[in-house]
């Protein structure tokens, strides 16, 4: 996951791109003939200093290699603090990535 987090004027703006083929049930049926080959991110969150700053539960309808943009109040978070993001998909795969707030 590529994560870009910028702190400006008390707000942290994040752009995170997850690499995932995001197959809907219809796409799976088309590609392999089997709807059960569908796989897509179902949950993603982000935390800074162990505090959750972003949490989303998701459907089969996000685009391939989805880009998540979100903002949160800096509230004591500083440049250099680590932001950790984790996603989980339908089949139980999971990926965690880290970056620093700039």
């Amino acid at each position: 996951m590529k994560i870009k987090a910028k702190l400006k004027n008390g707000v942290v703006s994040v752009k995170a791109m997850a690499k995932h083929k995001m197959w809907t049930y219809d796409i799976a049926k088309k590609k392999t003939g089997n709807r059960n080959d569908a796989n897509f991110i179902t949950h993603i969150n982000a935390s800074v200093n162990d505090k959750v700053v972003f949490d989303a539960s998701t459907s089969q309808f996000l685009s391939k290699n989805p880009i998540f943009k979100f903002k949160f109040k800096a509230d004591g978070f500083k440049k250099g603090d680590k932001i950790v993001m984790t996603w989980v998909d339908l089949k139980g795969n999971t990926k965690t990535s880290k970056s620093k707030i700039k």
């Binding site: 809907t24 796409i27 949950h43 972003f54 539960s57 089969q60 309808f61 391939k64 880009i67 943009k69």
Partner: protein
């Protein structure tokens, strides 16, 4: 010096007064499984919130009027409402619920995401206020090339 002290005192008071929400955020896929199989927007809203009664103000949905690629329709939802969750729906796909954001004490409602839309339709967003009310906003758009085909 005086102003900075005043500001930090004010913030401190806010944190004490507002009972902090759980540190661990909710996974709505597990919490509300029916929301993800609901076909219509009303059914999904009902499955998530127990009601379809919403106040149509305070929530802005931004999308292009015409999306050239139904596989990647950009959607942005903003709101100033003090809220618990934000959910996005559409009526162009086999199921209507797209994403549910579980908010925390640091959240600002300004989310952007790209979604798949099979055909032209309406994207709606519901903001679940801390006051117990549901607020909504929507935007209709045309989709030039349907997006569920990969």
């Amino acid at each position: 010096m005086e102003r900075r002290t005043f500001l930090s005192l004010g913030f401190g008071a806010l944190v004490l007064a507002a009972v902090p929400a759980s540190v661990r955020a909710e996974d709505f896929r597990k919490l509300k499984p029916n929301a993800w199989t609901a076909k219509t927007v009303d059914d999904a809203v009902k499955a998530l919130y127990g009601t379809t009664a919403t106040i149509a103000k305070g929530v802005t949905v931004v999308t292009p009027d015409v999306a050239s690629n139904g596989g990647a329709v950009p959607v942005q939802v903003t709101s100033d409402i003090d809220a618990k969750t934000v959910a996005i729906f559409q009526d162009a796909n086999p199921e209507s619920c797209v994403i549910v954001y579980d908010l925390n004490e640091h959240s600002i409602i300004d989310f952007s995401i790209k979604i798949k839309m099979k055909k032209s339709g309406t994207i709606s967003a519901v903001v679940e206020g801390k006051d117990g009310k549901l607020y909504s906003g929507s935007k209709s758009l045309e989709v030039a090339l349907g997006g569920c085909e990969g």
